[in-house]
Symmetry: D3
Subunit: 229 residues, 6 copies
C-alpha cells in the first residue's frame, strides 16, 4: 500500500452528467452553496483574475508542489471537453504556476478554466483571452518542472476536498464544489431556490419588509428585541 498519492495519473474518471453541469452553470456560487446546505465553498481568498470571470465544469484535479508546475502539463492530456482544472499544492505557495501558454494548451484540449490554490501570471493575456482563472495570488514568479505530483487524485484545494469529476462552479463570489453524485439534485435545489427568490425580490422591491415577508417580528420579540423611541 502506497503511503501517499504522489506520482499517479488516473486516466478514466467518471464525470457528472452533462445536463446537470449545464444546469448548474445557470446559477451563482452563493445559490449553489445554499442549495447544498451551506457546504462546499473554497476559502474566500480565491479570487477571479478579472471581474466577471465565470466557470462551470467537471474537475480534473492536480496536486502540485511549491514552485513546480510540471503536473499541469501532465493534466492537459487528461482534459475532456468542458473540464475545469483544479490545482492544489502540497504547501502554501504564491508563485506563478500558470500563464497564457498553458491556457492556450488547456483551451485547445477542451479546458474551460482553472481554479488554483497558488499564483498565476500573464493576467493581461488571460483576460484578453477571457480564460477564467480563480487563484489565491497573482505573481510573475516562474516555476520549475522537477517534482512528481499527481493528476486526478482527491485533493484539498483552498480548504475543500475536490474529487476528480466533481462539478466546480466559480464566479465573482468565489468557488464551490458539487460532488458528482449529487450534481443533478443540487441543480434542482438551486432552481427551486431561484424560483423562490424571484417572488421575494418583487415584494422587497415594492417596499415590503423582510421582517414581515419572513414573519420575523414575533421571533424577534420573543428573543427580547426592544424598540426605543
Amino acid at each position: 500500500m502506497s503511503m501517499n498519492n504522489l506520482g499517479i495519473v488516473k486516466r478514466n474518471i467518471a464525470r457528472a452528467d452533462r445536463a446537470a453541469v449545464d444546469q448548474l452553470a445557470n446559477y451563482g456560487v452563493a445559490t449553489i452553496h445554499e442549495a447544498m446546505g451551506r457546504v462546499g465553498l473554497l476559502k474566500p481568498y480565491m479570487r477571479p483574475i478579472y471581474a466577471g470571470a465565470q466557470l462551470c465544469g467537471s474537475a480534473v484535479t492536480v496536486l502540485l508542489h511549491p514552485g513546480d508546475n510540471w503536473m499541469l502539463h501532465v493534466a492537459a492530456e487528461q482534459l475532456a471537453e468542458g473540464d475545469v482544472i483544479v490545482a492544489a499544492c502540497s504547501a502554501d505557495c504564491e508563485d506563478g504556476f500558470f500563464g497564457e501558454l498553458l491556457a492556450t494548451s488547456f483551451r485547445a484540449r477542451g479546458g474551460k478554466g482553472l481554479v488554483i490554490d497558488g499564483g498565476v501570471r500573464d493576467v493581461r493575456d488571460l483576460t484578453a483571452m477571457r480564460f477564467p482563472v480563480f487563484s489565491r495570488a497573482i505573481s510573475a514568479k516562474g516555476t520549475v518542472k522537477a517534482a512528481l505530483g499527481s493528476v486526478n487524485v482527491p485533493v484539498v484545494c483552498a480548504g475543500a476536498v475536490v474529487n476528480p469529476g466533481d462539478v466546480v462552479v466559480a464566479d465573482d463570489d468565489g468557488v464551490v464544489v458539487v460532488p458528482r453524485a449529487i450534481a443533478q439534485q443540487v441543480a434542482d435545489a438551486a432552481r427551486a431556490r431561484e424560483d423562490n427568490e424571484a417572488e421575494k425580490r418583487k415584494r422587497l422591491a415594492a417596499g415590503e419588509l423582510g421582517l414581515d415577508m419572513y414573519g420575523m417580528r414575533e421571533t424577534l420579540a420573543k428573543a427580547g428585541l426592544k424598540y426605543l423611541e
Copy 2:
C-alpha cells in the same frame, strides 16, 4: 443599567442636515479626512466591491454577530431616504452577510449603500444594480438569523466609532465618518481645501516644484539635507 447594547433598536435618530450631507457628497474621502484634521477613517482593508463605487449619507448603524445577519433585516425598517447602513460585527467574520435581495429591500426603503466590517455576496448582481458596498471581504458563505444584535447604537466599524446619524462618505480611497455635529463645518473645510488645491494643481502642472511652491527648501536644509553631485 444594562451591561451591553444588545437587543436594542433605536427608532428616532437625529440625522445630519441634508444640505451638509449633499455638500459632503461633492468631496473625496481623502479631502474630507484632511478637512477634519486627519481623523475618522475606517481601516484601509475596507474596499469597494466594484471600481468607482461611491456613497454619502446618514448612518443607520447595525451590530451583528459572526455568521448572523438577522439585524440587517431589522435595520431595513429604520431606513429613511438617503441613509447608509453601517454594519459592525462583535468578532471578525468574513461570511457573506449581505446580497442582492437585501440590497433590493434597502434601496426600496431609501437606503443608498452599505459599509460592512464583514463579507458580502452576489457581487455581480450588486454591481449591475450599482448598489455601492464597501466591505472587508467577498464570500458566498451564507448566514443565519438567530442572534440578537442592535440597530442604531454606537458601533466600532473597522476601527472607527460610528454613531447613528453620523455622515459616512466612501469612495475608491476608503471610508470616512463625519460626526453629525460637525458635518457642515467639515463640508466647509473640505470646500476650502479643494479651492486651494485647484490653484496648486495648476502651478504643479506647469512644472513648478512643490519644493518652491510650499517653500520647503530652507526647512530641508536646516534639517540637514545634503545634495551630492
Copy 3:
C-alpha cells in the same frame, strides 16, 4: 563614514540607455523576470491601482519614513523625462503617501509612474489621469513632511534592491527591476524568449501537448509517474 544613507540627495545618476528601456517596454514582467534568470521581482503584494496599468523607465529612488512623504517632493526635482519613482519605506506603513497633486507634479517633470512600498490615495483621479501606480495598499490617510529620508540611494523596495538608474518594469503581473548594467542584455534575452514563445503558442493552440513539445514523457516515466486506468 556615515552610518546610514539618510539626508542625501544624489543629483547625477547614470541611467540605462534609452534604447534598452524602450525595448524592455515591449515585454511583460513575467518574460523579463525569466530572461534575467528568475530574479528581480518585487513581492507580489505590489498591485496596480487600476487594471491594465503599465510602466517602464529608469528609477529615481526614494527612501521614506512611515507616515511622511517629504522626500517625494524632493524627488520631483530630480526627475528626467521617462523616469519612474521607486519609493521604499524604513518600516511597513500603509498610509497614503501619494495622490493626484504629486502625480501632476511628477508628470509635469517627466515622471512616468510610481512604484511605492506603501499606500496611495486619490485613486479615482489617478485612474482618470492614467498615471500608473503600483503600491502595497490604498489608503486615504494623509502624511506629514517632517523626517529626512533620501533620494537616489540604493533602497530595498518590497523585498528587492533597487539602485538609482535601474530599469523598472511593471504590469498586471507585478514589478521587476533590471540592473542598469544589463538592461540591453536582458532586453535581448526577453526578445529571444518571446520569439520562441510565438512558435510554441501556435503548436499548443493546434492541440499539441506540452508533454510532447517539451519532450517530457521520458523524464516523467523515469521519475516514476504511473498512469492508472
Copy 4:
C-alpha cells in the same frame, strides 16, 4: 468646536472604585467578558509579551501617531497608583513605541502595565522586570517625538472603545475593557459565574457529560441530530 481630539491632555479623570478593580483582578478575561454579556474584548491579535503576564487597573488612555511615542511621555505624568496605560494609534503601526526606560518611568509613577495597539521592544528587560505588556507586535524599531496626540480622550484600541477611567483586565487569553460605571456590577457577575463553574467543574471531572448536565439532549434531537452506529 474642535474637529478632532488631538493635542489634549485631560488631567482629572474619574476612576473606577478601587474595590471593584481589586475584585475584577481575581477573574480571568474570558470570565469577565462573559459576565458583561460577551462584549468588551480587544481583537485577539493583542498578545502578552511573556507567558503569564497579567494586569488589571484603571485606564489612562493615549492616542499616538505612527512611529511617534511622544504622548507616552506626556501620559506618564497623568498616572495614579494602579493605572494601566492604554495606547491607540491613528493608523496601524508595528514600530517599537515602548521599552524598558518608559516602563521604569511608568512603574515609578504608579503604572501597572501597558496595553498598546502597536509594537514594543526591550522584551527581555520588560520580562525581567515582570512589567506586563499586551501588544500587537514586537519590534526593535525606534520612534520619534514630533506629533501631537492626546491623553485621556476616548480611544479605539484594537477594535474596542476605551474611555479614561475604564477598567482594563488582561491575561493570556487577551484584553477586556469594563466601562467604569458598571465595574462593580461586572465584578459581581464574574464572581457569580465563577461560583457556578466550580460546581460544574467537579461534575465534569467526575465524568458527567455536558450533554446531561446542561440538558442538551432534547434540544439536539429536536434540531435533528442523528446518531448512527
Copy 5:
C-alpha cells in the same frame, strides 16, 4: 442521499491499533511526515498553546460552525481512552470554542488533547492542567450552542483531511495526520528513519560535512555550482 454531512454523530468508529499509536508517540511530527512521503501536515498556523505541548492519539472528529461549540459537547460522549479531538469549522473563525471546563470533561472521558482550526481560551488553566491544545488562535470570545454540526465525519482541518480513527500526532513543529490503515507502516518507517539519523548525527557532530556524507559534491558540480576565491 443527504447533500451534506451535517447533523450526524457516528458512534462506532474504527481506531488504529493501540500498538501503532503508542509507537508513533515516540516520534516527532517532522519525522512522521517524512516517513509518510511528505504528506499529512496541517497548515503551519496551527500552534501549541504552551511550549512543549505534545499529543498522539486516535481522532474523534468534529465539524463546528463559526462561533458555535455545541458539537464539542456532543463529541465528549464519543471519546474512548486515548482519543484526540480534531475540530474543523465550516468557515474561518478565531472565537474561543474551548476552555478548561471542556478540557476537564474531555480528560474525564479519556480525551488526551485537542486540535482545533479555531480559537481557544483559558490558556493559563489549560497550561496548568498540561492539557495539550493546538489551535489557530487564542481568544477569550465565547461561543453559543445553537447550530448542528457533526461528530465523526471526515473533516478538512487546517488544510488536511482527517477521518475519524486516523492517528493525529502534534508537537512544537505542528500537527500531522496518519491514516488509520497505514499507522503501523508509518510507525515502522519512522523508526527506520530515526535509526538512520542517529548515525548521521554522530558524523555531523564530529565535523563531517553533509556535502561528503550525502555525496553531494558531484551533483552540485554537474548542476554548475562554481567556487570563487
Copy 6:
C-alpha cells in the same frame, strides 16, 4: 556578465574584526539599531524559536529557493568559528528548511546560529541544544535538494540587505545587520548610548518625568498641547 547571482560560492570573505563583534554582543538589537541611526532591522515577523534566544556573529549568507535547502549544506563548509548563517529565499516560503541535523553540523563547524527568512523544524531539539534560530515560521514540512542557489553573495533577508561578513545581532526584539565596515563604530556608539541610558534609568526610577528630563514641556506647549482639568 552573469544576469543573476545563482550557482556561486564565495570562499574567502572579509569578516568584521573579532573585537568589534564581541563588543556588539553586549548590546541589544534595539540599542544597536538606534546607534546606527535607525536602520538595519529585518522585518519584525522574524522571531526567535525560543524565548531568550540570542546571537551575534559574522554573516555567511545563503540564497535558497522555495522548498529547497541544498545550499545550507554547501554553506556549512564555508563556516568559520563564530559565524552566523543568514538565509534568504528567492520567493516567500514557510517550509521547514532547517532542523537539528543541520544545526549539529553547523555547530560542529563553528556556526553560532541561524537567521532564515523561511521556516524551520525540530524546534524541541533546537531548543534543547540552545541553538539560536530566528525565522519567519515553524513548519515540519521537509525540503528537497535540487536547485542551485548561492553562498556568500549579497542577499535581501526579511527586507534588509545582508552582505557576507556583515555582523548580525539578534535577540527577543528582532534581528539587526551591521555593515562590516562600520562594526567598530557602531559598537562604540552603542556603548555610548547604553552609558547614557544608565543615568536616565536611575532618574526615571526615582520618579523624575521624561517631560522634565528631556525638556519636552516647552516644545509640547509650542506644538499646541492643551491641558484640561
